[in-house]
Symmetry: C2
Subunit: 191 residues, 2 copies
DNA sequence: TGCATGCGAGACATGAGTGTCTCAATTTGG
DNA sequence: CCAAATTGAGACACTCATGTCTCGCATGCA
């Protein structure tokens, strides 16, 4: 019998494999199970023991992404304080996982998994609530819907991650680039 | 002997097939050659006669995307007049092909094709030049690099196309949503 | 020491997508 | 109207990723 009951948790090795898989698929979304196994330092058989099939792996990846992002929403305390500063904190927290998020963003396969879908629903709701709060305080524009601001935020975070990986933007500048553009736009301040 | 010399041009049928393929792959990036052939209304054999292999098809698609976008840069006359209005015209022109652009954006395979790469180089150069021109006229912020503004523009266009397809944003609002956010940001106007 | 569990390595079958070919039917142009 | 070209349909082999299995080895525990 197994030494561990997988009651919601997972073994250390399994989680490590998952993180390696995330790192690889972030760089190469079409990597084969064999490549993933090699990158994770386990055999293909073991990879398949942990995740019976590519679907299971991608689903676990999706759940990991939701979990990580929710942790970062917590860390950024986006429901507290000045909405503008909350947006800046959110961007700062989300930037390190921008590549991973960009990968999950393009994985249409995940839209059928109810668990993942409701996870993204929770995230969207929290982020939209932040934008709504800013609007109600008269800080954010009313003519841009929270839903659109939400998507725009995701898109800019993903794009900046891509730029950093491509050398177009310095890693230390990326959060500022996203924050300044999203909050203030590209026009110079009116005097 | 063939009725036509393919000196740079392509037959009407071939171009029609290419456009159908673009439309399908925009919706389903992993469509098989068989699905593409059916969607284009030709047999798999004919599809393969036009484009010897999936690589050739994707390359032709990349070239088509570059060609279309350059036409729209011309139509928007982005090197003329007020930079702010030029950006608005550019967004208005590019919006109808946002889905197709989003597909090409995620096709890493194209980065090895010199012809496509230099096409995107030309496009990036023209768009960056527009942003630089706006900066030099004191209209655009200096602390956001043209390269980043470029990528942000692409990302927002792709995101808005996605939002429209998803029903989150009305089709006629999409250009304004992108333009307002990119140019003015999400903060309310300072009095 | 002996036993059990987990892992790595590899063989094997399967299915999907692909590239190539043939042949009959249709269209096109002289 | 005939001949050439093009197309559609289908057969065929090949590749690759995948899923499954077995077996030998190592590590850990009693």
């Amino acid at each position: 019998m197994s030494r561990m009951h997988y009651s919601g948790l997972m073994s250390f090795d399994r989680e490590q494999v998952l993180r390696e898989a995330a790192a690889l698929l972030t760089r190469k979304a079409t990597a084969s199970m064999d490549e993933i196994a090699k990158a994770a330092g386990v055999s293909r058989a073991t990879l398949h023991r942990y995740f019976p099939g590519r679907d299971a792996l991608v689903r676990a990846l999706g759940a990991l992404g939701v979990e990580q992002l929710e942790e970062r929403l917590d860390a950024a305390r986006i429901e507290e304080g000045d909405p503008v500063e909350a947006v800046r904190r959110l961007i700062g927290e989300a930037m390190p996982v921008s590549g991973f998020l960009a990968f999950l963003y393009g994985e249409n396969q995940l839209y059928d998994v109810a668990e993942i879908d409701e996870g993204w629903g929770r995230i969207d709701e929290r982020v939209s609530a932040l934008f709504r709060r800013g609007q109600e305080q008269g800080l954010f524009r009313y003519d841009l819907s929270p839903a659109w601001l939400c998507e725009a935020l995701y898109a800019l975070i993903a794009a900046s991650g891509w730029c950093v990986q491509d050398g177009k933007v310095a890693s230390r500048d990326s959060a500022r680039m996203v924050g300044e553009l999203l909050l203030g736009g590209m026009l110079r301040e009116r005097s």
